[in-house]
């Protein structure tokens, strides 16, 4: 088993993954069948997520990497007809099942866009250029990030807070009343001001329709 191809594979992954922006929840749209399979072979073992790869020029080297990867996969004693590594590896990462289920329940309530008064709903927050997402509870948001604070934070910077609401529309934070925002916000994206230009008119219309 050689480690020769690994550094390249991982270098590629590091370059790409760190800057990949993620809007909404992982798990992605099911339509990326082939791309997903390619990535999964490249990744090896973990479940694939929605990746939009621009690999037209690097296509051939990627294929090479894949080929070596397939050969270097530890021979599973299972039958060769088993599906490729897109499936999760059994028992990895080593997390007990009762811990897994807790998180699954939490994610489920987030994706349904719930904001039950008693339980904390979570919203993914991503910022252009930053590799990490944050999960913020809307209750928590009330505490440390109310509307004026959020606007203040970004005041003077090039960034504006925008959000995706239940209908899938992208709106500017501050265009609708705070309660309505909290009720309908699915995920938050702090985007460059230049990109947010088209958003305002839709927001005003929506508010008019709702009230």
């Amino acid at each position: 088993m050689t480690n020769v191809m690994r550094p390249e594979r991982d270098e590629y992954r590091l370059k790409y993954e760190e800057t990949e922006l993620r809007l909404g929840l992982p798990g992605g749209s099911g339509k990326d069948g082939e791309a997903a399979r390619n990535c999964s072979a490249k990744r090896g073992f973990l479940e694939t997520v929605d990746l939009k790869l621009n690999i037209s020029s690097e296509g051939s080297s990627l294929d090479q990497v894949e080929e070596v990867e397939e050969k270097n996969v530890i021979p599973r004693s299972g039958d060769p007809a088993k599906p490729p590594a897109k499936a999760q590896v059994v028992g990895w990462p080593p997390v007990r099942s009762f811990r897994r289920n807790i998180m699954a329940v939490q994610k489920k309530s987030t994706s349904e866009g719930e904001n039950a008064g008693s339980s904390a709903a979570f919203v993914k927050v991503s910022m252009d250029g930053a590799p990490y997402l944050r999960n913020c509870g809307s209750e928590g948001m009330k505490d440390f990030m109310n509307e004026s604070k959020l606007i203040d934070l970004l005041n003077g910077s090039d960034y504006v807070p925008s959000y995706e609401d239940k209908d899938g529309d992208w709106m500017l934070v501050g265009d609708v009343p705070w309660e309505m925002f909290v009720d309908s916000c699915k995920c938050l994206r702090i985007m460059k001001g230049s990109e947010a230009i088209g958003l305002a008119p839709r927001a005003v219309e929506k508010f008019k329709n709702r009230s």
Binding site: D10, L46, G78, P93, P94, M103, L133
Partner: protein, 597 residues
């Protein structure tokens, strides 16, 4: 010593010797000491239920009052052991029901416990006081009802992380009103709601109650009812920690908590609404143990909480704490001994939180008493591991899980051999180690030569060849448990170090390259080992001998081959094993059958 003390005097002296290994040593001095010791041993620990049989246990030690038994191998926690593998407690209960009518304590881990076993326990031991079921399964709330109804002297019922068939919450009401001896109750793993009024009455009539861990179904508004009735509580686990924000609920809750002046440990905290966290602030300065591993709250709230817990010794938390929160932990909690950071989203490739190796390094710098670590993260470097090793040579348990298998040092893209090598070199008291990331045979050379006190080693997706396994098996003088998955280890290392296996409790290997032929050889060479192949593809005889087995579990035993094997478990060379078993029965075995935990 030929004119030795009368037996009674020796027995009295032995009664002060409580550690298992000391007792074992005493029993080897001479025949009469062996006899006296075995008659007065009160507590027995069986680390592997198949290493010894119930009959051997009860025959040798007739006066046992407390028993602890462990069943399935550790990797069963991660679904690597197929359903129906074994570890049934019933034969043990059945044997002890006859032999130990005065049995007071039963502690089981990873065993299959049926309702029949629970029923038998409840009716066989009139002095039964302590029942701990850690990661067990196979029973329902009906079985719990028998325990509740019949065990009049019960003090402790602890269902730690067991999988219970939750038919109803009614079982709790079976505890009689006259029963007032409860000291510890842990029902956190149960899904269904227990009758709250029964719970309330139970707590009210239990003046000795020290530990109460509720399940998720108990709502937050009701907590103060219990806390007010049990101000002497030392350990408390909440249910779902969420409710609509109401000032009266909040002040009741805060009042309840502040009334518990002895509170040292908190747990539970499912579905946390951060606005209710301040209700526990008054307890924080007294807390030594905090389990927030179900609390999906963010770093700022975690920091506010944790920085008030100046006396914290143990923290279990989700990776929502992030590096930032771990910095705060390192600054505030100078008594911290154990840290476990669990992944909030283990199956997502990309980091969903900003938790990296930096957080762990910060804690290793700031917390001088840190000795036990379990850490899930998505990137690691040799530099970080070296820093941790240098900062914390007092580490006793180091379990690192880098979520992506074979992930290299993210800075240099090299394997993490040097980093883990530093851990075993500097941490001379290290007893438990779990590896992850990209690792070559070299790391095993370091572990074999420097891991002198290592007792348990977990390996996954690591190594290049048999040489890696050989380094471990030919070194690691203190190794007792070795568990390996998805590594390119085959026959050579195992066969070359076969004798080592008799010095260990057990070896687990799955998705490796050990052939059936090698398993047969091992089984033949070493009659005091059970070599078991777990293979769900049908009989290994139907495939070439060179074909690798799916899973392999090897353990030392004085009980001979298992008699309760399911169809997918194959022992090796049954004829030879049977012959050995017969000859063993003729010999008086004064083998050391107890191991330290």
């Amino acid at each position: 010593m030929s004119k030795s003390f009368p037996e009674e005097v020796l027995e009295h002296v032995f009664s002060f010797i409580t550690s298992d290994s000391d007792r074992n040593a005493v029993s080897l001095v001479c025949k009469s000491w062996y006899e006296i010791e075995r008659w007065c041993r009160k507590r027995v620990f069986v680390g592997n239920c198949y290493a010894v049989s119930p009959r051997i246990l009860t025959r040798r030690f007739p006066e046992v009052r407390s028993v602890e038994i462990k069943g399935k191998p550790h990797f069963a926690d991660f679904n690597l052991v197929p359903e129906g593998w074994g570890g049934c407690v019933y034969p043990w209960i059945s044997a002890m029901a006859g032999a130990y009518p005065w049995l007071e304590e039963i502690r089981l881990k990873r065993m299959v416990v049926s309702d029949e076993a629970l029923e038998l326990i409840s009716t066989s031991f009139c002095n039964f006081k302590v029942f701990v079921l850690s990661s067990c399964e196979g029973f329902s709330t009906d079985g719990l009802a028998s325990i509740a109804a019949n065990c009049r002297k019960l003090r402790e019922l602890d269902l730690r992380e067991s999988e219970v068939d939750d038919l109803s919450g009614h079982w709790l009401s079976h505890f009689p009103d006259t029963w007032t001896s409860l000291v510890s109750l842990n029902i956190a793993c149960l899904g269904s709601e227990v009758s709250f009024s029964a719970l309330e009455r139970l707590v009210a009539r239990s003046p000795n109650l020290r530990t109460l861990r509720l399940n998720r179904a108990v709502s937050l508004e009701k907590l103060h009812n219990l806390l007010c009735r049990a101000p002497q509580l030392v350990e408390f686990g909440t249910g779902a920690y969420s409710s609509e924000l109401r000032p009266d609920v909040f002040s009741n809750l805060a009042g309840g908590f502040s009334g518990c002046k002895q509170l040292k440990g908190l747990s539970g905290f499912w579905d946390v609404v951060p606005a209710y966290l301040p209700a526990i602030y008054l307890t924080c300065s007294g807390l030594t143990s905090l389990n927030l591993s179900y609390a999906t709250i963010q770093s700022p709230d975690l920091v506010k909480l944790v920085s008030q817990c100046r006396n914290l010794q143990r923290l279990w938390v989700l990776d929502y704490i992030e590096d930032f929160g771990l910095d705060a932990l390192a600054a505030s909690c100078k008594d911290l001994q154990e840290l476990r950071v669990f992944p909030s989203d283990p199956y997502v490739v990309d980091p969903n939180v900003s938790l990296t190796e930096r957080g762990l390094v910060a804690v290793s710098e700031g917390c001088p008493k840190l000795q036990s670590v379990l850490y899930f993260c998505r990137q690691m470097s040799n530099a970080a591991l070296v820093a941790i090793a240098r900062n914390r040579p007092n580490l006793v348990c180091f379990r690192l899980c880098i979520i992506e298998p074979r992930a290299p040092d993210y800075l240099t893209l090299e394997p993490l051999d040097a980093g883990f090598g530093a851990i075993v070199e500097h941490c001379k008291e290290l007893r438990r180690l779990s590896l992850s990331g990209l690792l070559t045979d070299r790391v095993f050379e370091y572990i074999g030569t420097r891991g002198r006190k290592l007792e348990m080693l977990s390996i996954a997706f690591a190594g290049d060849s048999d040489l890696g396994l050989h380094h471990v098996l030919s070194g690691c003088e203190s190794l007792r448990k070795l568990e390996i998955r998805d590594c390119p280890f085959g026959d050579k290392a195992l066969l070359a170090n076969a004798a080592k296996l008799e010095t260990m409790r057990s070896l687990w290997m799955s998705s490796c390259s050990v052939s059936f032929g090698a398993c047969k050889l091992l089984g033949q060479k070493l009659p005091r080992l059970n070599v078991e192949v777990i293979d769900e593809r049908g009989s290994p005889d139907s495939r070439p001998e060179s074909c690798p087995v799916e899973k392999l579990y090897i353990y030392r035993t004085v009980a001979g081959p298992r008699v309760d094997m399911p169809p997918f478990v194959w022992t090796i060379d049954e004829d030879a094993a049977l012959r050995t078993l017969l000859s063993l029965r003729k010999i008086e075995v004064s083998l050391d059958i107890h191991e330290r935990m």
